[in-house]
Structures are given as C-alpha cells and as structure tokens.
Amino acid sequence: MRCLFLSVALLMVLSGRAVTAVDFSRQIRPILSENCFFCHGPDEAKREAGLRLDDEVAAKASNDGVVAVVPGNPEKSALIQRIVSSDPDEVMPPPKQHKVIPPAQVELLKQWIREGARWGRHWSYEKVQRPPVPPVGEVRTNPLDAFLQSRLKHEKLAYGKEADARTLVRRVALDLTGLPPTLAELERFAPPGAPTPMPEGDYEKLVSHYLSLPAFGEHWAGQWLDLARYADSSGYPSDQPREIWAYRDWVVRALNKNMPFDQFTIEQMAGDLLPSPSDDQLIATAFHRNTMTQNEGGTSDEEFRVAAIVDRVNTTFAVWMGTTLACAQCHTHKYDPLTQKEYFQIYAFLNQTADADRKDESPLHEIQTAELRAQRQKLQQEAAALEKQFSALPEGWLKGYEAWLSSKPSIKDKKTAEALAAEAAKRTPEQVTLLKGHYVRQTAPEAKAERSRLNAVNKELARTKPVSVPVMRDLPAAERRKTQVQLRGNWQALGDEVNEGTPVVFPSLPEGKTRDRLALARWLVSRDNPLTARVTVNRMWESLFGTGIVRTSEEFGSQGELPIHPELLDWLAAEFMDSGWDVKHMLKLMVLTRAYRQDSRSTPELNERDPDNRLLARGPRFRPAGELLRDQALAASGLLSFKMGGPAVRPLAPNMGLTTAFGRSNDWTLSVGEDRHRRSLYTEVRRNSPYPSFSTFDAPNREVCTIRRGRTNTPLQAFVTLNDPVFIETHQAMARRVLSAADPLDLLFRLCLSRAPSAQERTTLSRLQAEALADYRSHPQEAVKMACEPLGPAPAGADVAELAAWTAVANVVMNLDEFVMRR
C-alpha cells in the first residue's frame, strides 16, 4: 500500500507527470493491481461478480448492464461509482480488505477515464526497445548520463561536484573487486596533488585495471551465490556436508573471463544438454543442485524431490525474470497473468533430472585432470597387483603361519576370529583361507615390504580422490516423469497432466523444436524475452548505486515498484543484449558515468527532495556486505591471503556448543595457516549455522534464493567490528604494519581510507594513543593480550605497549563510519 502510494506520489511530485496525459502502465495499472486484482484479476477461482479489471475487453464490457470503465465518462463508470460510494455494502475495495484508495489516486483514475481510458500491458512485459538518447548540451556525454541529466533538469536539479581521485579509487576498487586499493594502486591512480575531476583517460585506466583483476570475479561471484543459494551443506535438520565448491569456483572463472551472460545462463541451466559438454559446462549445472536435500529419518524422498523442483522453478523465475512465480504453485496468480497450469508447464522442464533427494547427492560428476587420472590409474594398477599377490598366499610368506596360529592372536574381525576359535581339524577351507590371508596381510615378516607399499598406495589413492560436484543429468527416455498439476500445491493431490511450455503472457518457444531445459535456457536469454536483460542490468545498477532503477529488484511484476528511470532501464537492457550480453561492458558503462563519479556529500535540501538518492544528484553511498567488511579489514591490515579457489575454509568462529538436529556439531575445527585469512567467499557456508558475523550484517543463510539483501544498522554490528577476534586480529596486524613507519597514523589512514588524516583526526587519535600507551606501560600483561590475542606473539624486539596502543587506535579507525561505508 505504502510502496504504491510512494511510487505514485514520487512520480507526481518528482516528475509532475500528473498534469500530462495519464500513463496506464505506470500510473493506473498499479492502482488497479494493488486494490482490485485480488478479487477482479487473473485468478478465475477467486474472481468476484464475474468482473475482471486486468483485461481491457472485460473491463469495458457490459456485465449485467454494468460497465466498469466507460471511456470518456468517469461518472458513468462503475469503477469510479463504487470507489467513491459511501454505502458500506457498495464501496470498493470492501471495508474488510482494509484498503483505501487515496483521493489523489481516485482523481488519477477519473482523469484517465476522461482522457479515454487508454489501455496497455504491464510495462515490464513489453519487449525491450532501445529508446532514443535525450539530447543534452554537452558533446560526448555517456548516454546513461544523458538520461539521468535530462531527468534532473526536469526536476530543476543538477549533478553535484565530482569526488576527488582518492575517494574514487577506493570506491571503484571496493565496487569492482570488493577490496580496498593497495598503496601502490593509490600511488599510481591518485598520486598526491592529483586533480579533481580526475582526467577522463586516467579514470578509464583505473576502471579497466580493476575490471581485469582476479578479485573482480571473486567479488561478483559472492552476489551471484546469494541468487544461486550456494552452500557447503545440504540444509534441513541434519545439514550434511556437501562437496560443491567446484561450482563456486566455476562462477569466479566465468565472471573473470567475462563469459557472456546468455552463455552463463545456458551453461548453468542446461550445460549438460549442450553437445559434448566440457567439465566446466557440467560443473555449471550445479546451479540448480544447490537446492536442499532432506536426510531426516522417516521423510519421503519424493516429497522433498518435489520441493527441490519447486525451488528450481521459483529460483529460475526470480533470478532471470524478477517474477514471483511462486504464488502460482498453489493457485493462479492474483496480480499477474500467470496460471497454475503454466506454473507446472515450467515445472515440467525441470522435472526430468535424475537427482531425487538422495543422501549421496547423486548424480555426481567427478573432476580429474588427465595428469591426475594417469597418476591414479598407475596407483590402482599397483594396488591390484599387490592385492593379487596377497590373495595368492605364496608359500614363502606362510613359514610362520602355524606358530602364529598356536600363539592365539587376538583378532578383531568377527569371522576370522571364529575361524581361529574353531578346532583346527574342523575348519572349513574358507576359514583356512581367511586365516592365512589375515596372517600374510597383517603379520608375515616376509611380506613386510609389500604390506607397507600397499598401505602407502592406498593412502595416496585416498589423497588424490577426485573432486566431485552434484550435477543435472536427464533421466533416460524410458524413465521420464509425467508432470501433473499439484492441486493447492500439494504434491500428493494431482490434477491434469501438463507438458513443457512457457506462460502465454511471454513470447512463445520456437515451434517444432525440442522442449527441454536447454530450450528453456535459450528462451530466458532470447532477444524477445522482456525481463531477463532488464532484471539483470537492474541488479548491476543496484550493486553500484545502492538501489536499483526498479527498487524492488526481486519483483518486476504488477506488485513491484515502477522504474524511476524507465527509459534508462530499457536503454541499458537493449545495450546489454546488443553488446552480446557483455557484463564487464555494462559495468564499465555504469562506472564511467558522471553520476557514479559524484561526491556523495548531501545537503538538507537534497535530503528533503530525494532522500533515497533515486535521481542521483549526488554520489551513491551505502554500507557493503559483512563479507566485504571482513575482506577489507584483512586486506588493509596485510593479513589477507590471495589464494583462490578450492575447498571451503573455516576461519575463527565462536563456539556455540550446539549440534544440528540429527547431525554434526555446529562448531568447526579451524583452518590452519593462510586458510584462516582467505576471502570471505571461501568461508564454509552451513545453512543451519551460518557464519555469525556475516548474518549480523544481513547475509542470508542460503536456504533459498535471495535477490536482495537488507542493509540494517544495529548495535550487534558494532560488536562485530569492535570485538570479534577476527576483526581484532586485523587491528593487531595493522598496528604491527604501521608502527615501523615514520608516520604511523598517516599510513594507517592511507591503508584504510585512502587519504591522509586531518589535523583534528591527528589530535584526537594521538591523544588516544598517548593515553593508551601510558596505560599499557603500567599494565604490561594487558598490553600483551591487546597486541597478541589472537594474532600471536609480537615480533622479537617489538615494543609491546606501543603495539597495544596502536591496536586500540586501529580499532577506532577501522570502525569509522567512513571505513564501514563505501562512499
């Protein structure tokens, strides 16, 4: 209700569009959707009085002599009559709905009818057409700026001044790689005295540099993994470990090599159906194997297989089409023209894979390099030869056998022990073989060399076990599943059989072609699909500007918010597709705008006009994710390991002293060495016990797809950055790093904030440092704790009290609003 009121109000206030012709898609349809569609919308089962307001013909037709919308005549339109009625039995929406249409919106409805009640489709279902770029005075304006500036001009606003070079370097570095700039990068791109604004060519070099770093893929993979609901455990109560990290590394690689987004989509949805798929194309299909598996005793595998398919349908539509298809699982959608039958037609595409909620997560794909394969083959052959030798029971190895028998050795294996216990004469030939075998394998001194070799070979084989990853694999034709509508979303209440198909409101699939996952994937990224490109560029925009052009980046349907810059969104979507779905190209376009380069300072006037900075009359500023905050602290302090990929790692974490239901301990064994300081992307994700400090900063637990994270600001977050040993360790490392510098405070500021401290900052922090130092001089034991727990002993000869005092100063600087915010 409020979101609609706001968006309509915003449009009126900000654009003054109410005085021009009313736009059905942007101004009228949202009012009807919010207030009327629930009972007078697409869902036939819930439709009241046979009236349908989401369809032009129906709305303008006579319904028992009553016409809802009479073009040109608001007074004769039942729609208006019922809305303004004071009779509680007549008034719409009915009082029990607790909805009231504000007078301004009623006026809009009247004006729209007066103007002829022109109809249109929901804006995001229209095919993407590239709108003309509005003319702006300056030559060589980035088209994005042209759209933004023309809107600002309309609002009698203008861009603010450009941010200085050092702010920009930090902003671009954080946005593109998730890491702060190094001192060398600062020196290169923003040397002392660098001009503001930064020369165009220099700025472009800066952007290209960060787009080319491997850290780029790691940073953007983090966001994709929220959509992919990636986790290193299977979820549900037992939350078993799951080996699927090869998929996470695939995402990083794909992003770093700038795989076109259409290919990125096709490989994840249906890489296995491509002709002779590569290892990578199979690994990519793990996208949809990130659904949870239920291993609780007494549960039905089919019930949870169905749950996984439902999740795949919902996730596919949420990620690519910004559409909550989920509603249509149980009933025809109330607001958007999506029927329950159509839901199960999509379901049918995804209902043919071999996985079935099994504990072993099969089917799995094993990844071995040729080298590894050869190595393992050799070992396997050697093991087989040795096994054969032992099984042959060579006479030479049995010299001590009789003596061993009479020594009555203790034997663990039950059968062998029985054989030994049996009277010698009564032993069966099998029992004799068993005993001899045991003797040569365990005891015979003559076979010692072979025995230890076999052990070593087996150990080596275990060590070189290939990495596996759950993948999508279609069932053989004979085992294909029949798909039926599940009544009210109940997997056991089955209705009509359905075949693969896409909702009629969207473009259709090519005629006469196979309808499988690959066809669905290609449909998602076809040039005619109205949503995928819009939804994807909007998410990029959100990552860089803090808020999407459509604020509800998860919902582009009737109930979502309207785009604040509709033409810009369409231009970007068109450009994205026409560039060959080039992700880095789009990011670069956005980062190169003047809008992006602005200083983020605001003014009271601007805060009042545009509190959420939707119009971008200043630079964007927001609090990044918890993972980035940890990475930033590690990188600035010099602790960060740049090792990429591989199994998940377990950095310092608090002990909760609990186990998961029917499962393992929630507390984990810490990784050793550099694995404690890897990028947060590599931290093990356990759905039942997500890493606590990330959760505190709004990280989801990855049970289901999350399109957009929250951005709260709470005291528990202050606890994390002030006291969490993970962060304290970075403060301690920072103290060690800066103390040897001629001007420690200057270095501390440059590492953390990419700038030198101000005079006031110097005064405040020097005072703190001096006071802390005095304290620690008189309490050396406390100084040791402050400087070394948990980082470890101070370097030989270090002044521990100084280190402790500087740790306290780093604790302050690394909690500054400026450090915690990306500005």
Binding site: R2, C327, G710, N713
Partner: protein
C-alpha cells in the same frame, strides 16, 4: 498494511529532521536503521525497536515460548484415553491406517494405552499423568488446549509451520513478527532472545527465530550459556572498560565531524548504535548472570549458575521479560519419544526428561505470578505435533515403549497474558486419533497469539515481492474461547 499508519508521521518526521541542517536529534536517528528497501514498510517513524501502537489493546505485552523440540507424548502426559488402554495391544483399525503414511511405522501397528497413571487436578479437574507432578500444581493457572492439529509429520517442516506459518524456510518467525509489531521496552537489550538447552538446536534450524524477509533487526538474538551471552559483547582481552570508553569517545568525535560534513542520517544512526552497544555491554551480562539470585529462587527452578540447562534458561526467561525483552524463545532438545533408546521411552525416559522440565516451568509461572508479571506475559509450553496412539513400528518388539510422529492431534498449554486460567479446551476422540471437538490448527493458534499481542493477524502484514505476507499465510481464526 501496517498496524499503524505511520506514513504521514514518518514523512513529517523525516522532513522536520532533515531540514534541521545538521541538527540531528536522537528521535530521528534510526530512520535509516532499517534497510532502505524496507522503507516501503517502515513500521515506525523513528527507532525500529521503539514500543508501538497495536490494532487493539494488547493483553500480552511479552511472550515466553517454551518449545519441546521433538514432540512430547501428549497421550502420556495430558490426553487421557481409557478406551485406548482397554484396547492396548490390539491391531490398529484399518479405517485409521488407510491411505496414510507415518514416519517410522509401516504395516499394522498395535494400539498402545498409556502405561502412566492419570488423575484430575485443580478446580477444573484437569487430567494429567504422573509423569509431570509439578504441572499438577499449575492446573488452576493454565489453559490446556487438547485439540491442537497440524499438517506436518516430520520435525523440521512441522516446526517451521508452527513458528513461521509455512512449512518451508524463508518466512519471518513468530518472535520476529511480535518484535516487528511491538518493538521492545528496553533499548539496552535485544527485543527477541533465543535460548537453547540440551545441546542441540531444533530441527527447524535458525529459521525458527529468523526474520525471513523482514528486516534482520527483528530476528532473535541467540544467547549462549557459555562465553559471551551475546556474541562479541565483551571487549577484547587487554582492553579495559576505561579504554573502551575512550576509544568510543574518539570514534564518536570523528564520526560527528563526518556526519556534519556528509549530511547523511545513517552516520548519526551509526554513532547511536555504537553508544547503544556500549550500554548493552553492561546490561546483557548483568541480566544473564543468575548467580545473584536468592538461593530459594535457584532451588525452586532447579537452576545452577555456570551450567547450561533448561532450568537456567527458564530463570533467564523471567529475568529477560522482567527487564523488558519482548519475546523469549526457549528450545529444549530430546522430546522425540520413539522408544529407540531408554531415554526416548514413555516410561522411565519420560519420567527422567520431565524431571528436568516440569519443575522449572512451574517455578517460572509461579514466579511471574508472584511478581505481577503473569497477567501480561503469555507463557506457552508445547511441541510441534503429537504422537501416535499406537506403538512405533521399528521398536514394536523392544522393551522400551515409544510412539511415532502424529500430526492430527496434540496438546499444548498456555498461561497468563490474557488466556483463561484453569481451563480445558477441546478434545480428541476415544482412541485419540482425531480431534473430536473445537479443532485448533496451528494457524488458529498463531492468530490467537497475535490477537493477545494486540494484532489482527489478517491485517498484520509485511510487503515482500509485491505481496502482503502474514504469519498465518491465508488461514487462521482467533480462538475466542481461550481469551480471559
């Protein structure tokens, strides 16, 4: 729609605040405390945790929810079935088994009457078994709902349904809805606290106290029984309280310069949150320290300072609500009475488990009563479903008696907070296979709890992905008979 129409209020506040050219007031500070994307549904103009106005006067101002994870055997505790005892050992009738599946039982199981002894207690003559002697003393305090009913017979989905209104992950929990609606009465403590005993977290996982798609400020804060009760609330080793104060002073000083320079409300919010954190560092350990409780109180609960137990958690629950925490959620593991081991048998196993349970619960309710808190504190005790009137299939031949999961009927009880005292509600049929009268589905139960907290469950919603979501999904009716 939000319970309160804050739209205009919020816009006014925002305008007044922002036009004040750098003069920030605490009242306006938390404007951005919520995520920006939730602005559409901002529940309050200022601090998201401030106490707020409800749809109607709330009878319960706070909740203590005692959840026995695994499902207590209601037929051996409360729901007395003499007919079942009479038919003990007979084959379960076909009419009941037809077309049904059970978690661990296949074929034809044997009916099992309770081995426990039942008697009537209190003025209402409330049936209870010998397994829970301390509950007998509560008979005049509680409302016993004997006609509870759910849709799910596996633990995780059933717990999710009970606590989030939906069987799959991703929805806000009961406690987060309550905190979202009511805020908290003590800004120096979390509004919603979760305490877990018996070493294992509930099957439904952290979603049972998660905030789903509503802002994460409303999620339950899991307090530990060892180490910092709230994660990272302790200063690092080697930092004195005095130095912490000085570091925070320096931080505030520098952040204030930034706030004035940048003109962003969020910087001011951050300053306030660090100050709040500093106050919480004092208030949290204080409220979580039970060692200063009188010996008599510790004895009554069976609580022992320094240990981790359900008894300690019950005492903590009282201390927390007393200090103004809105919702305290306890989970206790070990209630899955299948009979697969002596501990999960309904004879000795149940006696043992109950011995660590009924005493602290009785002490808690009496303690709240004595302190005048029970009147507006709702206490709930129960599980996620019931247990079968027949013997569990896998353990049918063992010496230990156990029952399988059963969704159609179960029992839970409530006390205080606007529900009747000494009241029996609903019943099951003679053998305990289905609700005989006054069925209360978990959605009805949730609607009733929301009503007691002052909310109309149909109007108490949060907009997400274009839809107004509510705790009760599209179901639920308030059970008015339960209201005092």
């Amino acid at each position: 729609m939000n319970p309160v129409r804050h739209d205009s209020l919020q816009l006014t506040t925002r305008r007044t605040f922002l036009s004040g050219a750098g003069q920030f007031s605490l009242g306006a500070i938390a404007l951005h405390a919520l995520q920006e994307n939730a602005a559409a549904s901002l529940p309050a103009a200022a601090n998201p945790m401030l106490p707020r106005v409800t749809h109607h006067a709330a009878k319960a101002k706070r909740v203590i929810y005692l959840h026995m994870s695994g499902a207590p055997p209601h037929l051996d505790l409360f729901d007395y079935k003499p007919e079942l005892v009479k038919h003990d050992g007979q084959n379960c009738p076909d009419s009941i088994l037809k077309g049904r599946t059970f978690a661990f039982t296949t074929g034809v199981p044997k009916l099992m009457g309770t081995p426990r002894t039942f008697k009537r207690y209190g003025q209402a003559g409330m049936w209870m078994s010998d397994a829970c002697p301390n509950f007998h003393t509560l008979a005049d305090e509680i409302t016993m709902v004997r006609s509870m009913n759910t849709d799910q017979f596996n633990h995780a989905p059933a717990e999710l349904l009970l606590f989030t209104g939906h069987t799959r992950q991703g929805r806000p929990s009961l406690g987060s809805w309550a905190t979202y609606g009511l805020g908290t009465e003590n800004q120096d403590l979390p509004g919603f606290v979760t305490l877990i005993s018996s070493g294992t977290q509930p099957s439904g996982g952290q979603g049972l106290w998660g905030s789903g798609f509503i802002p994460s400020v409303y999620q339950g804060v899991q307090c530990r029984s060892k180490g910092d009760p709230v994660l990272y609330a302790s200063d690092p080793a080697g930092m004195s309280r005095n130095l912490r104060r000085r570091t925070l002073d320096a931080l505030r000083e520098l952040n204030e310069v930034q706030a004035a320079d940048l003109g962003h409300a969020e910087t001011v919010t951050r300053i306030a949150q660090y100050e709040l954190a500093y106050r919480m560092q004092m208030s949290v350990p204080e409220v979580m320290d039970i060692s200063k409780e009188p010996a008599g109180t510790l004895e009554a609960y069976g609580a022992k300072p320094g240990e981790s137990s359900f008894a300690n958690n019950c005492l903590l629950a009282r201390r927390l609500v007393e200090k103004g925490v809105r919702f305290v959620q306890l989970f206790d593991w070990g209630w899955d009475f299948h009979g697969t081991s002596p501990d999960s048998g309904i004879t000795d196993g149940l006696t043992k488990k109950m011995a660590a349970t009924d005493k602290p619960v009785a002490a808690l309710i009496k303690d709240l009563r004595q302190r005048g808190l029970l009147e507006d504190t709702l206490v709930i005790w129960g599980g996620e479903f019931g247990r079968t009137p027949f013997r569990e299939g896998r353990t049918a031949a063992s010496k230990v008696l156990g029952r399988d999961h059963y969704p159609d009927c179960f029992t839970l009880f409530m006390a205080g907070g606007g529900v009747k005292a000494g009241f029996d509600y609903g019943s099951t049929d003679e053998l305990g296979f289905s609700v005989a009268e006054k069925k209360v589905h978990v959605h009805d139960f949730q609607a009733t709890v929301m009503h007691l907290l002052g909310f109309n469950h149909e109007r108490f919603t949060y907009r997400f992905q274009g839809r107004d979501y509510r705790l009760t999904d599209v179901h639920g009716h308030v059970v008015r008979d339960l209201l005092a």
